[in-house]
C-alpha cells in the first residue's frame, strides 16, 4: 500500500484530500503544524477528523520559531483583516516562507517513515498574494524534495487543477464530515463568517451546490 505523508490543516481542502487519498487506498500519515497560529481550533479539528477516519496524526511544534517570522495576522501582532483575498490588507496573513517550512518538515518525516510522497491541498484558487502558492515555486521545491534523500519522496498536489467549489463537490461525494472542519482565521468559538477564509468557504459551498453545515457567527 502506498504510504503518504499528508500536510493536514483540518480545513476543507486538506480534509477532502485526506478522504480522496484514503479512498485510493493510501496508507496516510497526517502532519499538522503548530506555528503559533491564533486559530488554534484548526489543530483540534485536525485531531478530531483524523480520529474520525482512524488515520495516524502527528503535530509538528514550530512555535519556538514564531519570533523569527515578524508580525503577521496569523501569529499575532496584526488584526485579522475582513473581506476578500483580493484586497491589499490580506497580505497581512502571509507567514514568510510558510509552505517551504511545512514541506521541509513533512519531507523529513516522510523520509523517516519511508513514505513515497508528501501530499498537500494546493488548488487552482490559491491566491496570488501568496508567492509560495505559485506553480513554479512548487515545481522547484518538488525537484528539491526528490533530491533531498536517497529514498526519493515525491511532492503531490492532487487538487492543483481544481477550484475550491470542485473540492467541496468531491468531498460531498466522499461523505466528508464538513461540520468538523475548521477554516476561520480569527480564532473564536464559531466561524466568524467575515474573514477572508470564511467568505471563501461560504462561497465554495454555494458554488458547489452543497449544503454548508458551518455555524457562522455572521
Amino acid at each position: 500500500m502506498a504510504r503518504t505523508a499528508l500536510i493536514y490543516s483540518g480545513g476543507v481542502d486538506s480534509t477532502v484530500l485526506l478522504a480522496h487519498l484514503r479512498a485510493e487506498g493510501r496508507e496516510l500519515h497526517c502532519l499538522s503544524v503548530d506555528y503559533g497560529q491564533r486559530h488554534r481550533r484548526e489543530l483540534e479539528a485536525a485531531r478530531a477528523i483524523c480520529a474520525h477516519y482512524g488515520v495516524s496524526h502527528r503535530l509538528a511544534d514550530l512555535r519556538a520559531l514564531a519570533p523569527l517570522f515578524g508580525s503577521n495576522a496569523l501569529t499575532g501582532g496584526v488584526k485579522v483583516p475582513e473581506g476578500h483575498y483580493e484586497e491589499e490588507s490580506m497580505k497581512a496573513t502571509v507567514v514568510p516562507n510558510r509552505n517551504m517550512l511545512l514541506i521541509s518538515v513533512a519531507t523529513a518525516w516522510a523520509v523517516s517513515l519511508r513514505a513515497e510522497s508528501v501530499a498537500y491541498g494546493a488548488h487552482s484558487g490559491d491566491h496570488a498574494i501568496y508567492p509560495d502558492c505559485r506553480p513554479e515555486f512548487a515545481e522547484a521545491l518538488d525537484r528539491a524534495v526528490r533530491l533531498a534523500d536517497w529514498h526519493e519522496v515525491r511532492l503531490e498536489r492532487p487538487f492543483v487543477k481544481m477550484d475550491k467549489a470542485a473540492i467541496v463537490r468531491r468531498g460531498a461525494e466522499l461523505g466528508v464530515p464538513f461540520g468538523l472542519t475548521w477554516s476561520c482565521y480569527v480564532g473564536g468559538e464559531r466561524h466568524c463568517g467575515k474573514c477572508g477564509t470564511c467568505v471563501e468557504r461560504k462561497e465554495a459551498f454555494r458554488l458547489a451546490g452543497v449544503a454548508d453545515p458551518t455555524d457562522y457567527a455572521a
Copy 2:
C-alpha cells in the same frame, strides 16, 4: 550595505564564511539551529564567535521536531561512529532533510529581515553520503528560495568550489579565531579527535599548513 542571513554552526567552514563575508562589508545576521544535536558545544561556540565579531546571532529552536526525525547519531539513539566519512557507518549521522529545514527557516528569517541572501558553508568536500549536499539539490532549492516571497532572497554558497583545506587557509588569512570553533559530534568537553568530523578537521589543518589550535582528547 548588503544584508545576509548566514546559517551558522560555530564550526570551521561557517566561521570562515562569517569572516569572509564580513570582510566583504556585508551586514551579517547569523542563525544557529538547535535541532537537539548532542554536540551542544557548537551552539555555545557559535554564540561566543558572534560576540567576538560583534555580529547579530539568533537561535532557531527546532528541538520539538526531534521525535519526527527518527533515530540518528546526532540527535540520539545511535552511537556516533568513528573513522572516515567514506565509511558506511557514517550514514548514521544523516538527519533527514536537514539542509532543506535549515534553509527554510533561514529564508523565513531573511524575508522578515528584508535580507538579500541566505548564505551557508557548503564546500566541495561535502560528502556523497549526504544527499542534500548534492549540487543539483542546492540548485533546485535555490530556485524555490528565490520564488518563496515577492522579496527575492538568493541562496549563496561562496565556498562551494573550495575544499576544507582551502577554507582553513582563507580563515588563516582573515585571522579567524579557530580555537573558538567547534566540530566534534560526540558532545564532550574537548574534541574527541576520533569521530569523522574531528578526523576531517585535523586533516584540513595539516593539508592547509596551518597550525591547529584544537585541544584533542586523542
